[in-house]
Protein backbone atom coordinates (compact mmCIF):
# COMPACT_ATOMS: atom_id res chain seq x y z
CA UNK A 1 0.00 0.00 0.00
CA UNK A 2 1.10 3.53 -0.70
CA UNK A 3 1.57 6.00 2.12
CA UNK A 4 3.43 9.18 2.92
CA UNK A 5 4.84 10.31 6.26
CA UNK A 6 5.87 13.88 6.80
CA UNK A 7 8.10 13.66 9.81
CA UNK A 8 7.50 17.18 11.15
CA UNK A 9 4.10 18.79 11.47
CA UNK A 10 5.71 22.18 12.08
CA UNK A 11 9.12 23.66 11.23
CA UNK A 12 10.44 27.09 12.18
CA UNK A 13 13.49 28.67 10.59
CA UNK A 14 15.03 32.12 10.61
CA UNK A 15 15.02 34.13 7.40
CA UNK A 16 18.18 33.41 5.40
CA UNK A 17 18.82 29.99 6.98
CA UNK A 18 18.36 26.61 5.25
CA UNK A 19 15.03 24.81 5.08
CA UNK A 20 14.63 21.04 5.42
CA UNK A 21 11.19 19.41 5.25
CA UNK A 22 11.29 15.65 5.62
CA UNK A 23 9.18 13.09 3.80
CA UNK A 24 9.25 9.29 3.77
CA UNK A 25 7.08 7.18 1.55
CA UNK A 26 6.10 3.60 0.96
CA UNK A 27 5.17 2.34 -2.46
CA UNK A 28 4.82 -1.04 -4.05
CA UNK A 29 6.06 0.18 -7.41
CA UNK A 30 8.35 2.84 -8.78
CA UNK A 31 6.62 5.93 -7.49
CA UNK A 32 6.16 9.43 -8.75
CA UNK A 33 6.72 11.93 -5.96
CA UNK A 34 5.69 15.55 -5.59
CA UNK A 35 5.92 18.50 -3.27
CA UNK A 36 3.07 21.01 -3.23
CA UNK A 37 2.85 24.32 -1.36
CA UNK A 38 -0.31 25.91 -0.01
CA UNK A 39 -0.42 29.51 1.13
CA UNK A 40 -3.22 30.54 3.52
CA UNK A 41 -6.68 30.22 2.00
CA UNK A 42 -5.27 29.24 -1.37
CA UNK A 43 -5.17 26.06 -3.44
CA UNK A 44 -2.14 23.79 -3.81
CA UNK A 45 0.68 24.79 -6.15
CA UNK A 46 3.15 22.28 -7.56
CA UNK A 47 6.70 22.97 -6.34
CA UNK A 48 8.49 20.06 -7.99
CA UNK A 49 8.08 16.46 -9.11
CA UNK A 50 10.11 13.26 -9.45
CA UNK A 51 9.05 10.83 -12.17
CA UNK A 52 12.00 8.37 -12.50
CA UNK A 53 14.45 10.69 -14.21
CA UNK A 54 17.22 12.54 -12.30
CA UNK A 55 17.09 11.85 -8.57
CA UNK A 56 17.87 15.47 -7.66
CA UNK A 57 14.91 17.55 -8.72
CA UNK A 58 14.87 21.33 -8.90
CA UNK A 59 11.63 23.21 -8.48
CA UNK A 60 10.30 26.72 -8.34
CA UNK A 61 11.40 29.43 -5.89
CA UNK A 62 14.78 27.81 -5.22
CA UNK A 63 13.45 24.56 -3.75
CA UNK A 64 14.89 21.16 -4.57
CA UNK A 65 14.38 17.58 -3.43
CA UNK A 66 16.37 14.37 -3.67
CA UNK A 67 14.81 10.97 -4.29
CA UNK A 68 16.63 8.32 -2.24
CA UNK A 69 15.22 4.91 -2.98
CA UNK A 70 17.34 3.10 -0.39
CA UNK A 71 16.00 5.39 2.33
CA UNK A 72 12.49 5.74 0.81
CA UNK A 73 12.83 9.48 1.31
CA UNK A 74 12.07 12.61 -0.68
CA UNK A 75 13.15 15.51 1.52
CA UNK A 76 12.56 19.11 0.42
CA UNK A 77 15.35 21.68 0.87
CA UNK A 78 16.11 25.31 0.19
CA UNK A 79 19.45 26.98 0.94
CA UNK A 80 18.04 30.24 2.26
CA UNK A 81 14.52 30.81 3.58
CA UNK A 82 12.51 33.84 2.56
CA UNK A 83 9.54 35.31 4.40
CA UNK A 84 7.32 34.41 1.44
CA UNK A 85 8.13 30.71 1.98
CA UNK A 86 5.90 30.59 5.06
CA UNK A 87 3.15 28.15 4.06
CA UNK A 88 1.92 24.56 4.36
CA UNK A 89 3.87 21.95 2.39
CA UNK A 90 2.54 18.59 1.26
CA UNK A 91 4.51 15.58 0.12
CA UNK A 92 2.60 13.34 -2.29
CA UNK A 93 3.23 9.87 -3.72
CA UNK A 94 1.44 8.75 -6.84
CA UNK A 95 0.86 5.43 -8.46
CA UNK A 96 -0.85 4.36 -11.64
CA UNK A 97 -4.38 3.49 -10.65
CA UNK A 98 -6.53 0.62 -11.81
CA UNK A 99 -8.40 3.09 -13.99
CA UNK A 100 -6.74 5.37 -16.51
CA UNK A 101 -4.95 7.81 -14.29
CA UNK A 102 -2.75 8.37 -11.28
CA UNK A 103 -4.05 8.33 -7.75
CA UNK A 104 -2.41 10.64 -5.22
CA UNK A 105 -1.61 9.88 -1.58
CA UNK A 106 -0.99 12.95 0.54
CA UNK A 107 1.07 13.47 3.65
CA UNK A 108 -0.58 15.38 6.48
CA UNK A 109 1.44 18.49 5.78
CA UNK A 110 4.28 20.50 7.34
CA UNK A 111 3.66 24.06 8.37
CA UNK A 112 6.72 26.23 7.74
CA UNK A 113 7.20 29.40 9.78
CA UNK A 114 9.91 31.88 8.79
CA UNK A 115 11.12 34.16 11.57
CA UNK A 116 12.38 37.61 10.54
Amino acid sequence: AQSVTQLDSHVSVSEGTPVLLRCNYSSSYSPSLFWYVQHPNKGLQLLLKYTSAATLVKGINGFEAEFKKSETSFHLTKPSAHMSDAAEYFCVVSELGGWTGNQFYFGTGTSLTVIP
Partner: protein, 114 residues
Protein backbone atom coordinates in the same frame (compact mmCIF):
# COMPACT_ATOMS: atom_id res chain seq x y z
CA UNK B 1 -1.16 27.62 -17.86
CA UNK B 2 -3.75 25.24 -16.52
CA UNK B 3 -6.59 26.97 -14.78
CA UNK B 4 -8.97 25.27 -12.38
CA UNK B 5 -11.73 27.43 -11.00
CA UNK B 6 -14.25 26.78 -8.26
CA UNK B 7 -17.60 28.52 -8.12
CA UNK B 8 -17.31 29.94 -4.60
CA UNK B 9 -14.43 30.76 -2.25
CA UNK B 10 -16.63 30.84 0.84
CA UNK B 11 -20.04 29.29 1.40
CA UNK B 12 -22.32 29.13 4.43
CA UNK B 13 -25.21 26.66 4.41
CA UNK B 14 -27.71 25.34 6.92
CA UNK B 15 -27.98 21.73 8.08
CA UNK B 16 -30.15 19.71 5.72
CA UNK B 17 -29.66 21.94 2.68
CA UNK B 18 -28.60 20.52 -0.66
CA UNK B 19 -25.24 22.03 -1.63
CA UNK B 20 -23.60 22.18 -5.04
CA UNK B 21 -19.89 22.88 -5.47
CA UNK B 22 -18.80 23.49 -9.04
CA UNK B 23 -15.37 23.04 -10.59
CA UNK B 24 -14.28 23.97 -14.10
CA UNK B 25 -10.94 23.32 -15.82
CA UNK B 26 -9.87 24.85 -19.11
CA UNK B 27 -7.15 22.44 -20.30
CA UNK B 28 -9.21 19.55 -21.64
CA UNK B 29 -8.05 17.23 -18.85
CA UNK B 30 -9.63 13.79 -18.70
CA UNK B 31 -9.27 13.33 -14.96
CA UNK B 32 -10.91 15.40 -12.25
CA UNK B 33 -10.94 15.02 -8.47
CA UNK B 34 -12.68 16.30 -5.35
CA UNK B 35 -10.86 16.40 -2.02
CA UNK B 36 -11.66 17.71 1.39
CA UNK B 37 -8.97 19.18 3.58
CA UNK B 38 -9.10 19.19 7.37
CA UNK B 39 -6.42 20.24 9.87
CA UNK B 40 -4.12 17.36 10.80
CA UNK B 41 -5.69 15.02 8.24
CA UNK B 42 -4.23 16.40 5.02
CA UNK B 43 -6.26 15.94 1.84
CA UNK B 44 -8.69 13.07 1.51
CA UNK B 45 -10.17 11.97 -1.78
CA UNK B 46 -13.96 12.05 -2.00
CA UNK B 47 -14.62 11.15 -5.65
CA UNK B 48 -12.80 11.21 -8.95
CA UNK B 49 -13.76 10.97 -12.59
CA UNK B 50 -11.67 9.80 -15.54
CA UNK B 51 -14.18 10.57 -18.27
CA UNK B 52 -17.50 12.23 -18.89
CA UNK B 53 -20.27 10.47 -16.95
CA UNK B 54 -17.70 8.20 -15.28
CA UNK B 55 -17.06 8.40 -11.55
CA UNK B 56 -15.26 6.42 -8.90
CA UNK B 57 -15.49 6.57 -5.13
CA UNK B 58 -12.49 7.78 -3.24
CA UNK B 59 -11.68 7.23 0.41
CA UNK B 60 -14.58 9.16 1.98
CA UNK B 61 -17.59 9.22 -0.40
CA UNK B 62 -20.30 8.91 2.26
CA UNK B 63 -22.69 11.85 2.22
CA UNK B 64 -21.49 13.07 -1.18
CA UNK B 65 -22.30 12.50 -4.83
CA UNK B 66 -20.81 13.89 -8.04
CA UNK B 67 -21.80 14.73 -11.57
CA UNK B 68 -19.73 15.06 -14.70
CA UNK B 69 -21.92 15.86 -17.70
CA UNK B 70 -19.23 17.79 -19.58
CA UNK B 71 -15.51 17.18 -19.76
CA UNK B 72 -14.56 20.53 -18.27
CA UNK B 73 -16.99 20.51 -15.34
CA UNK B 74 -17.11 18.34 -12.23
CA UNK B 75 -19.71 19.00 -9.55
CA UNK B 76 -19.73 17.85 -5.95
CA UNK B 77 -23.14 17.51 -4.32
CA UNK B 78 -23.95 17.34 -0.64
CA UNK B 79 -27.44 15.84 -0.63
CA UNK B 80 -28.24 16.93 2.93
CA UNK B 81 -25.49 19.03 4.46
CA UNK B 82 -24.38 18.23 7.98
CA UNK B 83 -22.09 20.08 10.39
CA UNK B 84 -19.37 17.43 10.01
CA UNK B 85 -19.09 18.42 6.36
CA UNK B 86 -17.74 21.82 7.33
CA UNK B 87 -14.37 21.82 5.59
CA UNK B 88 -12.20 23.16 2.79
CA UNK B 89 -13.06 21.49 -0.53
CA UNK B 90 -10.46 21.34 -3.28
CA UNK B 91 -10.96 20.37 -6.90
CA UNK B 92 -8.12 19.14 -9.12
CA UNK B 93 -7.57 17.92 -12.66
CA UNK B 94 -4.86 15.98 -14.46
CA UNK B 95 -3.85 14.80 -17.91
CA UNK B 96 -4.20 11.21 -19.19
CA UNK B 97 -1.42 8.69 -18.40
CA UNK B 98 1.85 9.33 -20.22
CA UNK B 99 1.33 13.08 -20.32
CA UNK B 100 2.40 13.90 -16.77
CA UNK B 101 0.83 12.63 -13.55
CA UNK B 102 0.70 15.91 -11.64
CA UNK B 103 -2.62 17.29 -10.50
CA UNK B 104 -3.59 20.95 -10.82
CA UNK B 105 -5.67 22.43 -8.04
CA UNK B 106 -8.33 25.09 -7.81
CA UNK B 107 -8.31 27.76 -5.06
CA UNK B 108 -10.69 25.85 -2.82
CA UNK B 109 -14.15 26.43 -1.34
CA UNK B 110 -14.40 26.89 2.40
CA UNK B 111 -17.80 25.51 3.36
CA UNK B 112 -19.40 26.13 6.72
CA UNK B 113 -22.53 24.21 7.66
CA UNK B 114 -24.46 25.67 10.61
Amino acid sequence: DVKVTQSSRYLVKRTGEKVFLECVQDMDHENMFWYRQDPGLGLRLIYFSYDVKMKEKGDIPEGYSVSREKKERFSLILESASTNQTSMYLCASSRPPGQGPEQYFGPGTRLTVT
